[in-house]
Symmetry: C2
Subunit: 255 residues, 2 copies
């Protein structure tokens, strides 16, 4: 099972590029040589080619970072949608296994933005469904994003929707540290009586939380034992998704 027939040079260059993109800090020439085991001369030539095409660039110290083409891509308004595309298989799987509604959200400013939803296994349309101004402290997704600092904590008093919504800052802090401890968040009757949700974090290379995935449904189904089952499903699936984003277990970030 050697390299597929076809394009050795391109495969090697791509491997270099992947290494550079997936690590969270610039890579030195030597570390790349060591990791891929290629000849120095070959590595040097390939990197020069990648540099010429703006796929990598060198920082002041000569280490390699993702190049301008990546910035160009990241500046596209649609870049986040493509994250949804990447997550699609995971979301679909969660939807099939749980038979509930699944959401993928990212923080934007002080708000939680939904970028994908699976509802009885159909992925919703193309436009972002911005959270209809729901108080994020009452949602499982919001709690996850708050818990790991992906979203700035709300200032002032908390907006509540039901008697179960977190009442004040002290209660919220308690809830969030519980979320961090367990690794997932839950929201029962907090946004609306009869509505329940469980959510887990998606992490990036450097361990920071960049998104959250939730499963939600009526509390007739989302309750007691069901919650544990859903949480386990979510945690294992989001762990896989995080790995796709280059996250390595055990790098849980500082926050």
């Amino acid at each position: 099972m050697p390299t597929q027939v076809g394009s050795q040079a391109v495969d090697r260059a791509s491997a270099l590029l992947a290494l550079i993109v997936e690590s969270d800090r610039p890579r030195s020439f030597t570390s790349l040589v060591d990791e891929l085991g290629l000849a120095k001369s070959t590595t040097s030539r390939l990197l020069q080619a990648l540099e010429r095409s703006r796929l990598v660039q060198r920082d002041q110290s000569g280490s390699f970072r993702p190049g301008a083409l990546f910035s160009i891509y990241a500046a596209r308004p649609s870049a986040l949608h493509d994250l949804a595309e990447l997550a699609r298989p995971t979301l679909t799987r969660i939807g099939e296994l749980s038979e509930e509604t699944v959401n993928l959200s990212v923080p934007r400013g002080n708000e939680v933005v939904q970028i994908a939803q699976i509802d009885s296994r159909y992925l919703l349309g193309s436009t972002d469904w911005v959270g209809v101004d729901v108080p994020a402290t009452c949602t499982a997704l919001g709690k996850v994003l708050y818990a790991w600092g992906a979203l700035p904590l709300p200032r002032g008093s908390l907006e509540r929707r039901t008697a179960h919504s977190p009442a004040d800052r002290a209660e919220l802090d308690r809830v969030l540290s519980e979320v961090r401890r367990r690794g997932w968040a839950v929201s029962l009757d907090e946004l609306e009586v009869g509505l329940g949700a469980v959510a887990a974090p998606v992490r990036s290379v450097d361990g920071s939380v960049v998104a959250a995935v939730s499963v939600s449904g009526p509390t007739t189904r989302v309750n007691g034992h069901g919650i544990t089952r859903l949480a386990e499903l979510l945690v294992s699936e989001t762990r896989g998704l995080s790995a796709q984003l280059g996250h390595h277990q055990g790098r849980e970030g500082v926050a």
Copy 2:
């Protein structure tokens, strides 16, 4: 001046990739073949290699889009900083030519976030300086982002800081359409008496405005004739920056 000595295959693959990343929408196999003039077989092989490495992916219809590695990169919290890195030469040049403070901002949520600043030609530290809760309608940067829909228009009545700040929605609308007409925005004594600024938009591949660059200083220097000079400088420099992001003149987007 044929292809540099070294790596034909990698250069060609990179050219393909650049084409895919810099275009606004998925590219069909044939359009890529036509544009680069490579043999179908070669193109096919190279694309397969890129696909294998997650640098490109096919959508349902078989067209090519940037692959998961790009999403991985875009999900990094630092992705926007890298935009600043890309813009650095441009900002520095503006700083040297204008001898005033230069800022690069992007919209995030409902706010304007500064991601780079040049002050008497020094680039500021690493942390984002979030706009200290300044009402964006009183700033040149804010006006640019509002004018082309990069930032959702504020709801309710406008916060004012001086007698020159836009007073109401009607005035703001008038100002914004003027901004669109001219291609740049100005703010004089609107945020603080004695403070003046000029700003111009940075556009992405699809023509949408993704960022803004401003020059600001005391109205003793930023005034009358000086403003026109600064605006011309800004417009020509941001046009160059937009081109680096893949924007082509004449695609000014729909908004």
